[in-house]
C-alpha cells in the first residue's frame, strides 16, 4: 500500500517576471518502506517539490494545486494550522541541505532531539529515553546527549539532525541533499546510516539529490525531474540500466565513474528558465533526438508496469 500518493501537484511562485512553475503537474507514489529518489539538476524544482509537500511556503507567495495523500488522508484540504499541528514533523519530517547548521547553538543536542516529543505532549523522562535511544541508533556515543552543537563535527551534527527527524516516528522522511555539505568519507558514513535505518526501521523516504550515483545507493525507485516535470519514473534498476528518456540517458552518461572505462559526456546548453520554459517538450533544445513532434507537449508513456517516460520517441515501437 502506498504511503504517499501525489497527483498532479503544482507549485507556482509569483515573481516580478511572472509565475515560476517550480513544480508543474507532478504525480508519483511512494510505497511502504520504499525510498524514491528525486534526481535533477539545480533549478529543476526538486527542492520546491519538498517545500510543496512540507508546505513550507506561505500561500501568498506560492500557489499549490493537486492532491497529496499521506496514509490515505488528503493533505491539500487541511488548513495551514491543521497541517502544522498534525502533519509536519509528526507524519512527515525533513532533513534539509546543510541541516547540520540548523541546530540551535545554545541548546544541548539531546534536548533538541527530545524537544518535538515534549512539545507534542510526551513526558520529559520518556522523551529523554527516546532521544538517547535514537542518538544511539544513529551511531552517536551517549555523551553527545549533553553536548552543544559546536562541540560536534559536521558528520555528527548531521547524524543528530537525522535523529531529530525520526523522533516522532514519521510515516515519511524527506531527505533534501542530506550529505552534500559533507566530505566524501563522511558522506559514506551517513549514507551507511541511512541504509541501515531504512532496513531496520522500514522508513519510507523521498531522497532528493542532484547526484544520481548517490541516489542509486539507497533508492528503490527514481523520479527524474526536469524543468519542474517528471520526465522518467521507474524502478531504480530499470532506470540505471535501461534509461528510456534521453535526459536520463544523458544524465547517467555525464556522471564521471571510477569503476568503468566509459568517458563521461556532457549535456550541452543550460537548464530552462522556469518562468518561460520552452514550448512542447522542455528538454527539446538540449536533446540530440529532437524531432518534429517534440514541439508539442509529450504524453507520459507507460513502458512497463514499473517504468514510464515523457517522450515522443516512445510513440511508435522502436
Amino acid at each position: 500500500m502506498a504511503i504517499l500518493e501525489v497527483d498532479s501537484l503544482r507549485l507556482y511562485y509569483s515573481t516580478e517576471r511572472g509565475p515560476v512553475r517550480a513544480v508543474d503537474d507532478v504525480s508519483f507514489t511512494i510505497g511502504e518502506g520504499e525510498a524514491l529518489g528525486v534526481v535533477g539538476e539545480s533549478g529543476c524544482g526538486k527542492t520546491s517539490l519538498a517545500s510543496a509537500l512540507m508546505r513550507l511556503l506561505p500561500r501568498n507567495l506560492a500557489s499549490y494545486s493537486g492532491s497529496v495523500k499521506l496514509d490515505g488522508e488528503e493533505l491539500m484540504r487541511l488548513s495551514d494550522e491543521e497541517f502544522r499541528s498534525r502533519v509536519r514533523w509528526k507524519k512527515m519530517a525533513m532533513v534539509f541541505q546543510g541541516a547540520m547548521n540548523s541546530l540551535n547553538p545554545v541548546l544541548r543536542v539531546g534536548f533538541q532531539v527530545a524537544e518535538p516529543l515534549i512539545a507534542s505532549g510526551g513526558s520529559g523522562e520518556e522523551a529523554k529515553r527516546t532521544a538517547r535511544e535514537l542518538l544511539h541508533q544513529v551511531g552517536l556515543p551517549p555523551e553527545v546527549y549533553g553536548r552543544f552543537p559546536n562541540e560536534l563535527s559536521g558528520g555528527m551534527k548531521q547524524r543528530a539532525v537525522i535523529a531529530m527527524s525520526l523522533v516522532l516516528s514519521p510515516a515519511l522522511l524527506i531527505l533534501d541533499e542530506p550529505t552534500s555539505a559533507l566530505d566524501v568519507s563522511v558522506q559514506a558514513q551517513v549514507m551507511n546510516l541511512l541504509k541501515r535505518l531504512k532496513r531496520e526501521r522500514k522508513i519510507s523516504a523521498l531522497f532528493i539529490t542532484h547526484d544520481i550515483a548517490l541516489a542509486s545507493d539507497i533508492c528503490d525507485r527514481f523520479a527524474v525531474l526536469y524543468s519542474g516535470q517528471i520526465v522518467e519514473l521507474g524502478d531504480a534498476d530499470d532506470i540505471l540500466i535501461h534509461p528510456k528518456h534521453p535526459y536520463t540517458q544523458k544524465l547517467l552518461s555525464s556522471t564521471p565513474r571510477l569503476r568503468s572505462e566509459s568517458e563521461p559526456e556532457f549535456i550541452p546548453g543550460v537548464p530552462p528558465d522556469l518562468v518561460n520554459p520552452p514550448s512542447g517538450c522542455r528538454f527539446r533544445p538540449r536533446c540530440p533526438y529532437a524531432f518534429e513532434p517534440c514541439t508539442r507537449d509529450p504524453p507520459i508513456y507507460s513502458l512497463s508496469a514499473s517504468q514510464a517516460s515523457r517522450c515522443w520517441l516512445h510513440q511508435s515501437p522502436p
Binding site: S185, A213, S216, I218, A236, L251
Partner: protein
C-alpha cells in the same frame, strides 16, 4: 623533463587563536614535495581541511610558505616580494571554485576579461578589445560581443566559469591552478567545462594543477593524481593506476566511498573510514592517518612517520605497508 612548478618540502603554518592567551599552530601544509611537468595535469585530491587549497595558493605565491622552496621554471620564488613577482603573475594564473564570487559583480564581462591586460599594460585599447573577444570565442561564449557587454549575474554558473577560464588565459600563462573549477556547477555540464579546459591546455601548452575533492573527475581529467591528507601528500601516481589499484589505505577508503550509479550497490553498506579528519591544529603523531587506518600497526604507525617513497615506477606512497623498494 624539467618541472614547470616544483615544491620542495613546503610548509604553511597559520597561527590560530584558541582562547584568550593560547595561540595554536594550524599546520595546513606540512612538508610537501611535488613537481608538475610541462603540459601535464596533476590532480590534487583531498577532503576539506586537507590543505589542498592552501597548497594551490602557495604554488601561486598568493601565500608565502613558512618554510621550503617554490621553484617556477627553476627560479626560486618562495621568498620574493610582491613587487618582484610581476613576471610570475603573467605566467601563473588561477581558475576559482565559486563561479558566483570569483567575478566582480560591478564589472562587465569585458572589463573582467580585459583586466589582466590592463594591469600589465599590454596592448592599446583596440588590441585589447580584439584579444578579449578572441578569448571569449575560445571559451565558446558566443556571440562574444553580446557576452562582453553582460554582467556576471546575467550568466549561468557554467558560463561564468568560462569567463573565469578566459580571464586566466588572457596573459598566455604557462601554469594554471584550477581550484575545484566544477564543484559548484551541475553534473551535466561539469565534463563540458573540463573538456574545454583540456582542449585549451593542448592549444596553449598549459601545465594544470587541478585541485578537487572528487577523485572521479580527477581520474578522467588528470594525468597524475596526488592524494593529500592533513597537510601531507600520502600518495602520487598516474591517475588510472591510482584509481584502479590504490596503495595508501586512505586512498583505498576514499575510492571505496565514492558512489556509482550501479544497482548492485544498493543498500550495500560501504566500508567507510571511522571518525572524521582531525583539525590541522592537532595532528596525530607519526603517521597522521593511523587513528583511522584499518591496517594500523601498533608500535610502528604511531611511532615512525612514514616518508613518501617510490614503491613502483612512478608510484609514490607514504605508508609502512609498503617497504622501500630502493632500501631493499
Amino acid at each position: 623533463m624539467s618541472p614547470v612548478i616544483a615544491l620542495e618540502n613546503v610548509s604553511m603554518h597559520f597561527p590560530v587563536r584558541a582562547g584568550f592567551f593560547r595561540t595554536l599552530r594550524a599546520k595546513a601544509v606540512d612538508g610537501v614535495t611535488l613537481e608538475i611537468s610541462k603540459g601535464e595535469t596533476l590532480a590534487l585530491v583531498g577532503e576539506s581541511g586537507s590543505g589542498k587549497t592552501t597548497l594551490g595558493r602557495l604554488s601561486l605565491r598568493i601565500l608565502a610558505p613558512t618554510s621550503g622552496k617554490i621553484l617556477f621554471n627553476g627560479r626560486d620564488i618562495s621568498k620574493s616580494k610582491e613587487g618582484e613577482l610581476g613576471w610570475f603573475r603573467t605566467k601563473a594564473q588561477a581558475i576559482f571554485q565559486d563561479p558566483f564570487s570569483s567575478l566582480d559583480p560591478f564589472m562587465s564581462i569585458f572589463s573582467i576579461v580585459e583586466e589582466p591586460l590592463k594591469v600589465h599594460h599590454q596592448g592599446d585599447s583596440s588590441e585589447r578589445r580584439e584579444r578579449v573577444l578572441r578569448a571569449l570565442r575560445e571559451v565558446r561564449l558566443s556571440p562574444e560581443e553580446d557576452f562582453a557587454s553582460k554582467y556576471p549575474h546575467m550568466l549561468s554558473g557554467g558560463q561564468r566559469q568560462r569567463v573565469n577560464i578566459a580571464r586566466a588565459l588572457m596573459l598566455r600563462p604557462e601554469y594554471v591552478v584550477a581550484d575545484e573549477p566544477v564543484s559548484m556547477i551541475d553534473v551535466s555540464t561539469r565534463m563540458e567545462i573540463l573538456q574545454l579546459l583540456k582542449e585549451l591546455q593542448r592549444s596553449h601548452g598549459l601545465t594544470i594543477f587541478y585541485i578537487t575533492h572528487d577523485i572521479a573527475t580527477a581520474r578522467h581529467f588528470a594525468d597524475r593524481v596526488a592524494v593529500m591528507y592533513l597537510g601531507r601528500i600520502v600518495e602520487i601516481g598516474p591517475s588510472e593506476e591510482v584509481v584502479k589499484e590504490p596503495l595508501h589505505p586512505y586512498t583505498i577508503a576514499l575510492i571505496e566511498a565514492v558512489p556509482e550509479p550501479d544497482p548492485s550497490n544498493r543498500l550495500r553498506e560501504r566500508s567507510s573510514l571511522p571518525g572524521e579528519q582531525p583539525s590541522p591544529t592537532s595532528i596525530p603523531v607519526a603517521c597522521r592517518f593511523h587513528p583511522r587506518c584499518r591496517f594500523f600497526m601498533p608500535g610502528k604507525c604511531d611511532v615512525i612517520d612514514p616518508p613518501l617513497i617510490e614503491v613502483k615506477k612512478g608510484r609514490y606512497v607514504a605508508c609502512h605497508l609498503y617497504p622501500d623498494s630502493k632500501a631493499r
